[in-house]
Symmetry: D2
Subunit: 337 residues, 4 copies
């Protein structure tokens, strides 16, 4: 940590600042400039993390040098994490595709979706049984019945299952049917849920919050890892900006950033990321080119009848076209699809 | 709902659109323009709400005319809601002040804080016993012990209690000690929590999410009201923008917007809204001038020792100055403080 | 400046960093921590400002301690600037109101507007003769004819004139008719225009850019002051965020921030700031409560016939109501209106 | 245009609305719903564009159906525009690379840069002679001397020249040396400059504004096309969001959006778009995968000595690696590099 003293601060102010630092078991390094004195704080990282200096008299501002997250950082683990979900690998060298409808609507719909996405080459069936919806009057999902349908439809064609968890109370029941827990954007900082998932035995896909910085996102992942669950997949799904043409602004530079800062795999959701099915194909290609480890894509056998997010769902035919592109991109990027 | 057909759409496309609308028990009104045909959909609001037309062939876009929220709207209830918390009123004609430390740290700290904010004229003691923190290595709160301290400190000086709930499992235990449940910005769309609070017997203060639109915020409140709990207080606490000088951008126009759209009371949090204690005083004044029904302010007996958010906490002395200003502003705005 | 060396940097990297700093005539202070070495750079501020260290091998990041702007800062001039426009004062202790239509449409319209805003108590007539419009097919303004109408209408009732300048070539002709030059949000970083206005003999009102930080805004003002023109008025007019209910998000905390960082007067534009005439009244009150030195408000004798921005324009009757509020607010804040 | 009447509007309000529409030579279509009456306005697009209805009594809101831009739209010209700059093509089927230093610093620097980027396979030499800088104390560029150096360095190795224009007064002098005019993000809505460039005989590269919507950007391009200059290249260079890890958020979905809405070529600037040289390579690949027609990349022979933007400049060696990737991507996307 670096502490910048204000131009008008007194010698006494500085003494108190040094005193507080030393009492915390840390060491000060002073640099006296023409206009300002700067205090460098050295010592144990966790002690520094809890030092609150901004309110001290004479302190103009403080600058943090090191990040709080640790287990998720590439400093901590230089090599890429690869997660194995019953033989399907997620991470370095692989390109994993998860596809299916936004919401589970019926067994018939799911079976059709599962057959089609399997045919296209997907590894996972996605679908929401517990749905977070903006309005209480929107369709809220089929709950446990939906989970059972997911499992059955996936098993019939040999796909893995990923589905969203909204509440830690549902961890056991969802865990019985899913292979991977999905934490949605709205719950990225639902810390109670993250702590619970830190004790789960199945991997967690952690979507980036609507307005979360990359730093906050990695700290959220740290909650899960620090609880003991090392199998976290990050998922970029678009951030909220002023632009209204797209539903969100898909931030593909987050893929490159995560690859630099962390060893965790990162996949991209071009369906929510753009909110327009026409954009899924170019953005899926771009995601892989940026270095993504996989894609999660909304596919609905009949998007015009979807109970939610029809605008951003692909028909099976369009999904096949996306997969053809992805196979070429995977080859170019040296990834196995 | 208004449906805009694309310039290249066919007569058959239009027939199918009309057919789908009529099958839903709704009525179409056609307007054929030079370049585009527009279809107005008329009929039962809830049926329209569930109509998904964007994926139909030939449809360029759809425009929704009416909002999904209902119970929170001023159309539904024209007169202002006034909430009575054991004699302390929140809403029209009143100016309610909630003050105290960000986190509960010790009984001694709380008692000192309670004495001071009572002396300044506050009605509520605020303080977090369960803390949502960005990093798992930050102070996480004293939990139930903290709740007990809150209650005791508040009772000793005659203040009401408001504290944050992070998880629906904690509703009973927190409900035993608090007068008002606070839902934080990160949980504004934790729909399971909102549904649970819809069954609570105590009022709920619902903070606006970091990147929530006013419409999403009102829909979140609708979750609580539609569950049966009519006592919701909205709280503007700053939104996330590109500006870094302040921690958040306090959106005071949201106060005016809420007053126009809803009958619910709205208060303002200038401490989180700016993240800088120096700004709390001018922003507290401005909030009342904009029409706010109250303020929630961080006050710490010794901000330089605070375990969290010291930068934005007022000393008791500075809090008294804010309250002096607010008394004058209240008089001007015809509110009782 | 503080330079943070990366954990993997070598002794040789550090040598080169020190060498470059010393060659620039500056001094290094080293702090060796457990994980990272930090280099403090001390010496002449302008030399430091031009030091580019980020690309040096072994450098993780650099942190700037001091701002680049100087003449606009409160460090440089502690007391508030008060600008005198032919007897009308802008700054400390005064509350200055500028009002009128968005665009100059006709002499008749302007005379009516001038009479009404004068009657309400405004000091300036505002109106655009040169209009920046999003589309080339929108009304572009009456140009020089509009300027003459402005001057005539203002003179007839004893108001000052403020109007927008879009291009440095127009400085002479506009300067003949206006009392204050307005630089719009889209031109805040039109540096050629700012440099030209640095040589103007009339004051400049500098609107904050749509997505400008407070720091960038003050740097833009520095262009004008460093050119020799000390009479700059800042104007907060709303920033662009994700919220769509309002046209922009009026950032009143910018008023408090500017008061802390600079000696320049700051006024607020609640008309563009919200884009909704219903919100002008509460936001005008809030602006004064936050510490603003004045307001600029759109008033149109017949908003429903306006050629631009009718939605956000007040009728004269509504303007009078705003002025009644402002007179009370001015008294409370110790300002002369 | 669709006009939504408020629930409390009267028959007389509706009459006046209809009257105003008919007086403008347009036709009304009424749809009376349960809660609201909707008025569809039909007729000449340009008449509708100038209709201001929001301030009419009884009007709740208006919704615009059609865009104001015309010449830039794909409706107007379905086939892709290809721009020929002395034999170098920009648009469909081509992948054009512009590279060079942020600022022109010396002839020696430029010659070295030109040799290297030519060797890597670039088509254009980029470099700023007139620099827009946040602070007046930053390096402002070498002006005309810089232009001459650009031309000489480019000619020696057979590259085209692109350089920024800040002011319409400089159009002639810059036009003497450059092949393409660049309009920077800060000037995207400098309408006087756009109008002047509408009369220029050389192509214009129009960067997206820092906080410009895609719609505003296309309207800005319309200014140039409607002035008579059809040769406009759009350039996505990152938008401003809350994220601070990157300098801007590169919005690659804008590439797909522009391809859908317009026939104009679009290139991407991953250097400004991310502000970090390490991210240029993955983002350049992703841009091509998303459908971009080219890239503009900062390359400096010695980034650690650059007078501006050293952080985001590639060394020649890193640039060669990017070009190797782009050649593979071009092949995959069916483009000629």
């Amino acid at each position: 940590m670096v502490i910048v003293m204000s131009p008008g601060s007194t010698a006494e102010n500085l003494d108190k600042v040094q005193e507080k630092i030393e009492q915390a078991g840390l060491v000060c390094h002073l640099s006296k400039g023409e206009e300002r004195t700067i205090v460098g704080v050295i010592g144990d990282k966790s002690k520094i993390a809890n030092l609150e200096m901004n309110m001290m008299d004479g302190v103009e501002k403080t600058l943090r040098i090191t990040e709080k997250y640790k287990l998720v950082s590439r400093d901590f683990q230089p090599s890429d994490t690869v997660i194995d979900v019953g033989g399907v690998k997620i991470g370095a060298g692989h390109l994993t595709v998860m596809a299916g409808p936004c919401a589970v609507e019926s067994l018939e719909q799911l079976r059709e979706a599962a057959r089609e996405v399997k045919k296209g080459g997907a590894h996972f069936l996605r679908g929401g049984a517990f749905k977070p919806r903006t309005s209480p009057y929107d369709f809220q999902g089929l709950a446990v019945e939906g989970l059972k349908m997911m499992r059955q439809a996936a098993d019939e064609v040999g796909l893995k299952v990923i589905t969203e968890i909204l509440d830690r109370e549902d961890m056991d029941i969802i865990g019985r049917y899913t292979d991977v827990f999905q934490v949605g954007a709205r719950n990225m900082q639902n810390f109670q849920l993250l702590k619970a998932l830190g004790r789960a035995e199945k991997p967690v896909l952690l979507k980036r919050g609507l307005a979360a910085t990359i730093r906050e996102w990695l700290n959220a992942a740290e909650y899960i890892l620090s609880g003991g669950n090392q199998n976290v997949i990050l998922c970029e799904r678009g951030i909220r900006t002023y632009e209204t043409f797209t539903r969100n602004t898909l931030d593909l530079s987050a893929v490159a950033a995560v690859k630099e800062l962390s060893h965790l795999p990162i996949i991209v959701d071009p369906s929510h990321g753009t909110g327009r099915w026409q954009m899924v194909r170019p953005m899926a290609r771009a995601a892989v080119a940026a270095g993504a480890d996989g894609l999660i894509i909304e596919v609905h056998p009949h998007p015009e009848q979807a109970l939610s997010d029809g605008d951003q769902s692909l028909t099976p035919k369009n999904f096949f076209a996306v997969m053809d592109d992805l196979r070429e991109m995977a080859k170019l990027m040296g990834r196995e699809l």
